[in-house]
Assembly symmetry: C2
Homo-oligomer: 445 residues x 2
């Protein structure tokens, strides 16, 4: 280290991709980081920060005016993300120190809610008017490209400065001088509204497979764009969120979180589930008498409940993904419920028969019960298993649809309700059947 | 419909984005589709097909030579995807009819396994040599852009035709004639190997936030690129797969699947779980005597098992996401296990106390048991709940780490094993404690 001059070092480091430099940067001590800030200067530090997950903690190491310079060089959406993490007074001070243009862009992005498309857009894009010639358009592009590096789509405004369309850069590059600009403008280009919810439009814009999508106001003014990289991030985030919710977490967790933060994300679910579980327990309590006289039946309670739970989760996961991806007609929804029940029935029949045979043999041979006795009990298990699986499939499909209908996030609300309903159904079917068949009809005790 | 001439119609339709045209196309009858094929011609049909999820069924509606033409116009990776869905003899016939260049590219892509990066790449990219001037490079770009529309990154080869680096198109556009091409080439550009597994490198290349990433052979020959759109797709797929696996499905399902296909994806899990569940049942059977003399304890079995399962799933989901995202040192892994157990303990203590108080009151007041009796039982429940939660957290973290270590997909293998271990732990703790404390020590019966 001591043997390199700073210039040598800078040159060697600059050979690497910013993402790799950022990774190295995060391994440095504070003293070394301070040396880097000085060595690289605000423009390159801004580049490096845009590849770091939580750059706000590092930005705090810089004096306010330096920090403001770094923010000015960053893409407006990245800068807004960082400012969002700061306390209000620091945020205000920093925004005050920004140059006019960056300040305006960042304030606009900060004015949107976190779940609105406006909060994800960048103001880094190329825009021209629709009355230019090909040559003029090309000149504009070269001029604007110095500041804005999202050049693969050139956006076009009409004479009233409203959004008119978009040009694929490739078409502009291969166009000949005498061609008409109008001919290469795609006027039916997809767009999103600034106040649209991210999770509601991400699946739609993903399908267009474009490098960037314009963000328009209600009045069709072009105020930003969503880039493919933003889309990757948003898809990753949405899916990560769904994943976390399926696992009963209120949000995604990462390695760095403290015990208290993790507890906060997990407890809400667990408390709700505890009380719902107590409800189920009190229903099981009703069947105490069955178990008291025929203790063998209680061995298979966990089996039936677990299986009902597993089937319900399968249907839930399928339904949530379908609801997320497409808008379903009532007929399609009905079709999905019927299909899920059919799958539940077929799987249930198969597993029910397996359970009937294997559990029957187990009770007969290993617990040395009379053969009829054994197979009547295993018949109860098999039949309950099948019934529970059909009903679980139905519940696992209907409940998320219901929450989706009343605009409550089905991924969050469905889990505990489905578990509880399925547990109840399984317990009542199983013990009810055992009580009726074994004790009352067959009078086995 | 009848009132429009075909030209009118074509012009009106062409105003829309290909993705919207594709959506409309899928709603047509076969006769209407056949009319579209004729009307649009192979180049535009190729465009439309690239926005359709399963275009192979539509391609079959075309005569073989027409179909080959459409494939030639498609991006090589999209064409390869379609051919992958066809039976071997049709595939062979179609590949034989392709023009030489497309045929070569598509055969190369088809030669990779589905989970290798090579199968996801496209050969649609711009490549130049590093000895050109800025002006020559620009001319090359314009020439190649007619055929290849992924132009935002220009790839550079050295004199041996090996991968040398990449140029951001923006830098090429703003460069002045007298500048040196070398100065705008980034020689430390990230890349992937053609045989790398998609799920192993997607998280890494996502972080570089580039519009495209080159795919190199072992010998550093540039054979294709992965675009941002491919990355969105791969991220979506990977996460969708994780999601499906967490829910106990072997793969993602969509609306169109038949009952038999869905059964096939769900049954493997369920059969394994059924037999593991039978194992748990036989352990529960050991405690039959406890339940026979003290039936009230069995009411809370479902509560403890469900909670242990929920906590285990939470730990599992967190661990899997962490393992997916980063390479952990042994120290970090140990840290994660300790943290998960700490979270499990804290949550368990809290919920255990809640259970102790509420269940105690329930048994005392609603089931009219003596107060000491009631709270000794609820104490058993609370203590077992806490123990089960700590152990579940540990198991939910260790099991996926173990499978990750021995290179078995933890997302698939962990679920059933964790459920079973947790059920066993919970059952043994709870009934064991009840047996020891209530029957032997306190001799409550």
């Amino acid at each position: 280290h001591g043997s390199f001059s700073e210039e040598d070092m800078l040159e060697r480091i600059s050979d690497y991709h910013e993402n790799d430099i950022a990774e190295a940067f995060e391994l440095l001590s504070e003293a070394e980081r301070k040396r880097w800030y000085r060595m690289f200067g605000p423009e390159q530090i801004a580049e490096i920060f845009s590849y770091i997950d939580d750059p706000d903690s590092y930005l705090k190491e810089l004096p306010l005016d330096e920090a403001a310079k770094v923010l000015s060089y960053m893409d407006s959406d990245d800068a807004a993300d960082i400012l969002d993490e700061m306390d209000d007074s620091t945020q205000e001070k920093l925004v005050g120190l920004l140059d006019e243009e960056s300040g305006h862009d960042i304030k606009m992005i900060l004015s949107y809610e976190d779940d609105e498309m406006g909060s994800r857009m960048t103001t880094n894009f190329i825009v021209i008017h629709n009355n230019l010639t090909i040559r003029q358009a090309m000149r504009e592009l070269v001029q604007q490209a110095g500041e804005n590096d999202n050049i693969s789509t050139v956006y076009v405004l009409d004479e009233n400065d409203k959004f008119y369309g978009a040009i694929d850069l490739k078409d502009l590059i291969v166009a000949r001088q005498q061609d008409n600009l109008e001919d290469i403008i795609s006027t039916s280009y997809p767009y999103v509204n600034d106040h649209e919810k991210v999770d509601e439009c991400i699946e739609r814009i993903k399908d267009y497979a474009e490098d960037s999508i314009p963000v328009l106001t209600q009045e069709h003014l072009l105020i930003g764009v969503i880039t493919a990289v933003d889309i990757v991030e948003a898809v990753d985030e949405e899916m990560g969120d769904d994943y976390a919710k399926l696992a009963g977490l209120t949000a995604e967790e990462d390695l760095k979180e403290t015990t208290a933060q993790s507890m906060k994300k997990r407890l809400p679910w667990l408390i709700i589930l505890l009380f719902l579980g107590m409800g189920v327990s009190s229903v099981v309590g009703v069947f105490e008498t069955v178990v008291a006289v025929l203790p063998v039946v209680m061995c298979f309670q966990s089996l039936i409940l677990d299986m009902a739970g597993n089937v319900g989760t399968q249907s839930l996961a399928v339904t949530i993904r379908v609801l997320m991806d497409e808008t379903l007609s009532t007929k399609q929804k009905f079709g999905l419920v019927v299909k899920e029940m059919r799958v539940g029935f077929c799987n249930g029949l198969f597993l029910g028969i397996l359970a009937f045979v294997f559990i029957g043999c187990y009770i007969w041979l290993l617990k040395s019960n009379p053969i009829t006795h054994a197979f009547v009990i295993s018949g109860c298990v098999g039949f309950s298993l099948m019934t529970a699986m059909v009903i679980s499939s139905m519940v696992g499909t209907l409940v998320p649809m219901f929450f989706h209908k009343i605009k409550i996030d089905p991924a969050v609300a469905s889990g505990p309700l489905i578990t509880t309903i399925n547990d109840l159904v399984a317990v009542i079917t199983y013990y009810g059947l055992a009580w009726l068949l074994l004790i009352h009809v067959l009078q086995m005790v």
